[in-house]
Structure formats: C-alpha cells, structure tokens
Amino acid sequence: MSLEQFKNRNVGTQNYTTLDVGTPPETGTDKFLQVIRRAVKGELFVGLWVVMRTMLQALFKNDMHTVKYPFEKLPISPRYRAIHDMLILLESGNYRCIGCGLCEKICISNCISMDTRYDENQRKEVSEYTINFGRCIFCGYCAEVCPELAIVHGPRYENASEQRAGFSLFEDMLTPIDKLNLQQEYDGFGAISPNADENIKQTPLAY
C-alpha cells in the first residue's frame, strides 16, 4: 500500500468494503417482525452463555484478572522510567560513576547537581550528588547519556510522598554492598517486559 492512500483523509473516496447490515425497518409490521426474529434467534441466550462461560473459567480455571495490587504487583517493563538507581561494579564493588558530569549537563529540568574531586589516586570521584525529584520529569536522558551504565532507572515506581520536593542522595540510590547479588542490570532500550509472552492474546472477535 502506497503512502498516498494513507494520506487521503477525504472520507468516502477510499475503497472501503461496507458490511451488509441490511436496511432499518420502515413500517410497523417490519419492526415487529424484526423484534420477533431477534427474540427467536437466541442472541440473548448467547449473551447469557458468554458471561456464564467467563464465570466458570474464572472460578474453576483460575482465569482471574484481578491483581491485588498492594500485595502483588505486575512486572514492569525494563524500559519503564522510575526512581533512579546507582549501580556499582560487580567485580570490585566500586562505583561505576566516573564523575564525568554528562547527566548533570543533559538534564533538561536541571534537577541533577553533582560535585566531583580527585581522590588520593588522582581518580575522579563523586563527592556530592543529588537529584531533586520535585523537578525531575523522568525523561531518562541521564540514564541514556551515561557512558558507564552507572545511573539507570530502577523498578521503584511508588513515589507518592507528603512533600512536594524530595531529594535523593547518591548513597540512597546506590546499590548496597551487601545486596550486590540483587543488583539488576539495565536490559537495554529494546528490552521487553518479563511477562511479555503472557500479555499476547488472541483478539477476542468471535464469541
């Protein structure tokens, strides 16, 4: 299909196939006959069966869609942009952050502020690092620009709070050294949800 056909917005000039829905009844007799046809056709009982089947499946096949949210959560997409996490190197336990300052530069809402210094080995390290979550728009540029995959978006999305502005320090976002084995790597921009297979369903067209 060429692009022109998509660009044509004049309804009625396209090659649509109309469904054969018949003509609405004109006279009283036709209306009455239509009611009789529909009443005898059994469509109403098909409707009753559809909901009954759903109930039976829900009760006996455990086909229930409710997620009891505070107690159980659906897995979120790895591309979801929640509260930031600071990752550390798995081998040495050192910070991944090299203090390059790119995240501070690219932040379009100016919510990241950082300060760096040279440590005793003349390596750059982060001395101050805060994110103002009252300003952060969770655009994800900081994680995108980070050359070391040090700052990523973690899975914590429940960030309602009693105060408008909340600041997060470097240490708050850093993976604790004793939870190093639980550190989750960023799966990449093309990553799909862990439950993507379950979410694929047939389009429910026919009953």
């Binding site: 009455f32 009611v35 109403l44 409707g47 009954m52 829900a58 409710t66 009891k68």
Partner: protein, 344 residues
Amino acid sequence: METTLVENLPQVTAAGVIIKAVLILAIISALAGFGTFIERKVLAFMQRRLGPMHVGPYGLLQIAADGIKLFTKEDIVPQHANAFIFKIAPIITAATAFIALAAVPVFPDFTVPEFIPLLGGTFVPSIASDLNIGVLFVLGMMAAGLYGPLLAGMAQANKWGILGAARTAVQFLSYEVVTGLSILAPIMIVGSLSFVDFNNYQTAGVGSWMIWQQPVAFVLFLIAGFAETNRTPFDLLEHEAEVVSGYATEYSGMRWGMFFIGEYANMITISVIAAIVFLGGYDAASTFGWLTIMLKIAFFFFLMLWVRAAWPHVRPDQLMWLCWKVLMPIALLNILITALVLLG
C-alpha cells in the same frame, strides 16, 4: 401446607403471626444485605474479577462494613426538598416490600419448642396471612411500592431525581399491565388467587408445573418482574450513565439503604412468586420440599444477577414500546387462548 392437612394443624394465633412477621423482617432484610454481596460477587466473577475480598473471609463481612457505613453516614436533607415526603419515601419502598411478603409463603411452618419460655408451643405458620386474594395483594403491594421512588424523585429538588421519578411513572404504567395480564392465565387455570392453591395444583411432579401449560405467561411474567424490581434490562429509574442515580441521587446513609433493602426484598418476592406459580412451589408432602423451593428461589435470584451481567438495558421509549405494543397483545392473546381451551 396442604389444604387437606389444615384441619390437623394447630390453631394459628396472633403470637404465631407476630413471630412470623419478626422472622420475615429479620431474615429477609439480612438476605437483602447478603444479596448485595452475592450480586457483587457474581458480577465480579462474570467479569473475571474477584469482588469484595478484604473484609472477612472472601469478603463475607463486607455486608457488616457496608451496614456500619450506612448507619453512621451523615443524613442529609437537601435545602429545597420537601422534607416530610423526602423522609417518608424510602419507608414506603421498604415497608411495602415487606408487607407484600406477608401473603407469600416463605419458610416451612413449625412449632416453637416447649422449653423456650413465654412462647413455647406457639405454632408459626409458613405464611403470615393466608389471604384468599394472595396474588392480588402481593402484586398490589409491589405496585404501591413504586410510590417510594416516585415521591422520592419529586421531593428532592434535583433534576436527576425528577427524571428518575418521571421514568418511574413511565415504567410503572407500562409493565404493571403486563404483570397482571400475564399472571391472569394461570389464575384462570387454577381458579384461585391463593398461593397455597397454586402450590397444591402442581404437586404431581415436574410434569404438573404451570410452566409447561403456560410458557408464554411465564416469560411475560419474568420480563414484567424484572421491570417491577428495576433490574437491569429495565433499570431506568437509577441508571447511573444517564441520570446519575435517578430517584436516589440526593439520598445518603440509611435512607438510601432502605431503598435497596426494599429492592432486594422485592427481588426475593418476585422469585418466590415465580417459583410458586410457575415452577411447582414447595412440595409439602416430601421431606425436602423446603429445599426445592429454596433452590428455585435462588435460581431466579441468580437469573436476575446473570441477566444484569449479560444484557444492556433498554431506553424508556423502548420499554414502553415493548410493554404496550408487544407484551400486552401477547398477554391478551394468551388469556384468550387459555379461556377458549378452558371453555372447550
């Protein structure tokens, strides 16, 4: 309670009738509360949801939570409302629903055990008042119950309430004709207006049920019964998508709750009438007669919830068209054919 047994039964005393009335009030209003729970659960399962789950095991205590909420909620009478009528309207709905149950046999009759002081040995009949015009009385009372929504809607100085009241009048005028005419054919066959006579007419097994003789009347009565109890294909009075909450818009707390106790009591009444008149009722001779009628009533109650989950509701003009131009002629034809068969 067969008529042949009536001579052997103990005398029905005033104390027995009062006990019966208290029992009906207590059990039916509790069942009405439980009905809301069942309705929420069934609707939830039919939409692949869990329904109320957190108050008590499987959400069973949700009724208690709702009851506490309704009782402690602020009772508001709107500024320009007619306060007297506004306050009396929910009482009309609840009271007529329970008065209608007075002439309906609800539970099997029993005698209070002797060891209970003061009331020991009192015979409690299955039917609080075995009127010889039972059917007429019940239908009349349920029709009178429509004054509740009508007055409530007009008294509350709210446009949605007015619309709800107008729809009440429309619905009332439409289906009441069909209710009466549809049940007239079974009355002609049985030759009595008493529910006990209806029950005794159909004691010879499933084959003797009225539904086989009067299938058309059964369907018509079910349709009219759904309209009478404001259930879903005909829930025009308080349809949220159109008139906010209709006649109940300005109500809160227990006044609002009384409308719903009345509605659920009416659902039970319609289920009982359908079970007794068309599905054989209770078999007084067999041991499990009370169980069979309970199952029949439960089926009709479930059917109302089932239909609510499955079918969309009709417009007011469609309701009037259906009642006056389709159902009423069919009911009249049914009566005519029944009469010809009875005469011939």
